[in-house]
């Protein structure tokens, strides 16, 4: 398709404290609905969005983790996380709500280079 581009959404903020994480997710879902290939990279505090056991009812917000776990159903299957960010926070795959591919620095640089559009949140 001439009118197709590959999108990379980089989500760097923790959930709930600000609307960045929700906006990144909504952008990814909308872009997928437009049938564009979408990858998501969780970096920095963004990996905290992936933690199991979120219960945000007490802060009157929707469960971001629950929406994230539905990403594969929207054909967003290329999910990456910064390996350093996970390690710094002592997180392993068992702590996360869905499988993500850990990437090192070189892997992240290559990921950016391999996408047409990069959107940071």
């Amino acid at each position: 398709m001439s009118h197709s581009k590959t999108f990379l959404i980089i989500s760097r903020r923790p959930p709930y404290g600000s609307s960045h994480a929700r906006d990144a997710l909504d952008t990814a879902l909308t872009t997928a609905v437009f049938e564009q290939p979408v990858a998501m990279l969780f970096q920095g505090d963004g990996v905290l969005q992936l933690l199991k056991g979120q219960e945000p009812a007490a802060v009157r917000q929707k469960n971001l983790g629950a929406t994230l776990s539905a990403l594969p159903m929207y054909d967003i299957e290329n999910l990456y996380a910064c390996a350093d960010a996970l390690a710094q926070r002592g997180l392993t795959q068992d702590d996360l709500i869905l499988p993500v591919q850990p990437l090192d620095r070189a892997g992240i640089a290559a990921l950016i280079r391999n996408h047409d559009v990069v959107l940071n949140f």
Binding site: Y16, G17, S18, S19, V59, R60, Q61, K62
Partner: protein, 130 residues
Amino acid sequence: MNFSLLVYAAPHSRQAAETAYRFAVAALAQGHGIHRVFFYGDGVHNGSALASPPQDECDLPARWQALAKEHELDLVVCIAAAVRRGVLDANEARRYEKPGHNLREGFELSGLGQLAEAAIHSDRLITFGA
């Protein structure tokens, strides 16, 4: 005890506005007084009459308004911060020759001096920032 609150964050964009609201509810439930809630910076958007969040999301401007009505709270929006950001009452709309106004009933626009006054006349001032 007599509290004043400084709310320096907008609803939706930052959690701090919701935290401030919960604090106000908890303080009133324990029998404390709230001398004033002062909305500054992006916090002025708590006073929007037009905010229309989805039904399953928290409508903070409406909640502040209801809480103020129940407890006769003084909800003051910094006038200088508000007019820059497009939050106007009828007076300011006239002054700036704007076609409408959007400050919610129960809130009032006033100067930054009301923050100083609140700090002076309250036992504690608590900032909810972003």
